[in-house]
Amino acid sequence: MLSPAQLEPSKERSIHEVVGTVVTHRDAASGYRLLELDVPQEALDCRPGQFFHILCPVDGQSQPFLRRPMSIFGYDRDAGRLSFLYKVSGIGTAALSGLDEGDRLNVVGPLGNGFTIPQNARHLVLVARGVGLATLAPLAQEARRLGLGLKAICSARSPEHLMSIDHFRALGAEVIPVTDSEGTSDPEQLRSLLDGLAEADEMDMIYTCGSNRLLKLCQQVGRDAGIPGEIALEQQMACAIGMCQCCVRPFRRGGAVVQERVCREGPVFDIQEAMEW
């Protein structure tokens, strides 16, 4: 049911190195920035869960050398728009955060295998926290296009830290906010929330991203209820195209542990195969 990792890449030129222009760039929440680019159409044949590899700006203070991988937060082929939601965490994202409207940015993509939506699925559920929202957001866009229901369980430290809720709602998703400060985000609470959705037959597929805690939880829920799921994973990347083999992670498959490239076989993987780290 889940599409197998695409081992034999298609021979068409599907990966593009293009220069985009910053259309808007603003704070999304404290420490998070939303970057919208105007990019050539050819680079916009995207699927939810794919990512771009971004060449961060260089100045006298910092010279990030490698590109930085960033999930597609939104894409619109007709409008020629591509957006990223990112957390300022180190030198690359700090350099990125200084971009102004009109500045140019070199991006490579779309990259990797996106999320799959099972043919018979009606209700999609995603569970995300922090910047994981960025990766999962295009699922809402796709669910709307396909006329599917989508529930977004958005977790954060406190209600003020909840991000992108309006974005999800605007895309027709039902948002279920959970927060540490309100005591609604701990594993037990989430578990019963998800079990409830499974029992009510309102969860045909579950998606998550990022944290070990969420991975474990979704694996358990999925296994117990027999519901498939996918997780988008991160790993440091050099090429992001599948050439350098730096981005491997271990996965459980057929009783063995196999190494797969996050950039090429992923970044989206079967949730049951993924291993905690």
């Binding site: 890449p9 298609s10 021979k11 068409e12 030129r13 599907s14 990966i15 593009h16 190195e17 060449l55 010279q63 990030p64 050398f65 490698l66 590109r67 070199n106 490579v108 790993q235 440091q236 990347m237 050099a238 090429c239 992001a240 195209i241 599948g242 050439m243 350098c244 083999q245 730096c246 981005c247 491997v248 992670r249 190494q259 090429r264």
Partner: protein, 314 residues
């Protein structure tokens, strides 16, 4: 149109731009038409299945990166069954990079590569020789000679030998490879380096140390390419930090007859086609009709043998 064809012994390449081993795979076909390349060079393969090193396997440093990928390999069987046939549609000559931790193992894998579809062998002898003290074959002339002789006995394919910068004997190693009848030298592999996170106090690579590549490494590789050109008569292929057409030109000027591009493809996946085009433009601007006229055109005023005595730092 400037004539970009270049000869490496028996092989004629349509242009001098090719990828460096380990920084290229067929996945690149999704970015550009692979047949525009002078040659295709595989990631180093080994006879046995290997897992590779722990992550993180790369980190960035000023002007470059470190890697300790560690030659993960699906093994020779998988290569012959899956990879080799998949390269069949390409016209660009395929060079297979191989390695092994012992001379016999090295000879054994090369003996199995005398196959249609393989245009040449690149011997990655920068791997530890586990039968002696664990130093790489390429670090010393005697071990280089022994391994290259063994490989030469197993194949008539063009045999390229890739040197390491982790040595104080570049000239001697180059000459040893030539004496053992290598057909060309690839200069050079990465140089052993290290990075640490000052705050977490952890090494930035899972394997503690790794090889430096990228622009930071270029002046070292260029020096080695020049030393090699000056001390052997077989062709030299330059490799190390090449990102711009000036970099390509610098290696050609010192006498390399082709170049390999590695890390630059990570930063700009379209680097190789761009370098091919830029080289056309550069040579036309400089008034050359063919790249072969430009190769080795350095105006150094140095006699051929002055170079071997320059291995001390200034």
């Amino acid at each position: 149109m400037v004539d970009l064809t270049t000869r490496i012994g028996a092989l004629t390449l349509q242009n001098p731009i090719m990828p460096a081993s380990g920084t290229f795979s067929r996945d690149m076909a999704e970015v550009f038409e692979l047949d525009m390349l002078g040659a295709l060079v595989t990631k180093t393969i080994t006879a046995e299945v290997r897992g590779g090193n722990p992550t993180p396997r790369v980190c960035e440093v000023d002007g470059g990166m470190l890697n300790s990928i560690g030659i993960p390999s699906k093994g020779l069987g998988a290569f012959l069954a899956n990879e080799l046939p998949a390269y069949a549609p390409y016209r660009a000559p395929l060079i297979v990079s191989v390695s092994a931790p012992s001379i016999d193992g090295f000879a054994e894998i090369v003996s199995q590569l005398n196959l249609p579809g393989i245009a040449g062998i690149e011997a990655n002898i920068s791997c530890p020789n586990i039968e002696e003290d664990g130093k790489a074959f390429a670090m010393r002339p005697d071990t280089t000679a022994r391994v290259v002789e063994a490989l030469r006995r197993e194949t008539d394919l063009p045999l390229w030998v890739k040197l390491t910068p982790n040595t104080g004997e570049t000239v001697e190693v180059a000459q040893a490879a030539e004496a053992a009848r290598a057909d060309a030298l690839v200069v050079a592999n990465t140089i052993l380096s290290m990075a640490v996170d000052a705050r977490t106090r952890r090494p930035k690579l899972g394997n503690l140390m790794g090889g430096l590549s990228g622009p930071a490494f270029k002046p070292i590789a260029l020096r080695m390419a020049y030393q090699s050109v000056r001390s052997v008569d077989i062709p030299v292929i330059g490799c190390g930090g090449i990102s711009t057409v000036e970099d390509v030109a610098e290696f050609l000027v010192v006498g390399a007859c082709a170049v390999q591009v590695g890390t630059a493809s990570f930063i700009n996946p379209t680097a190789m086609p761009r370098l091919r085009d830029d080289l056309q433009g550069f040579l036309a601007e400089e008034g050359y009709a063919s790249v072969s006229d430009f190769i080795g055109s350095i105006r150094d005023g140095a006699p051929g043998d002055a170079v071997r005595f320059m291995e001390a730092a200034p």
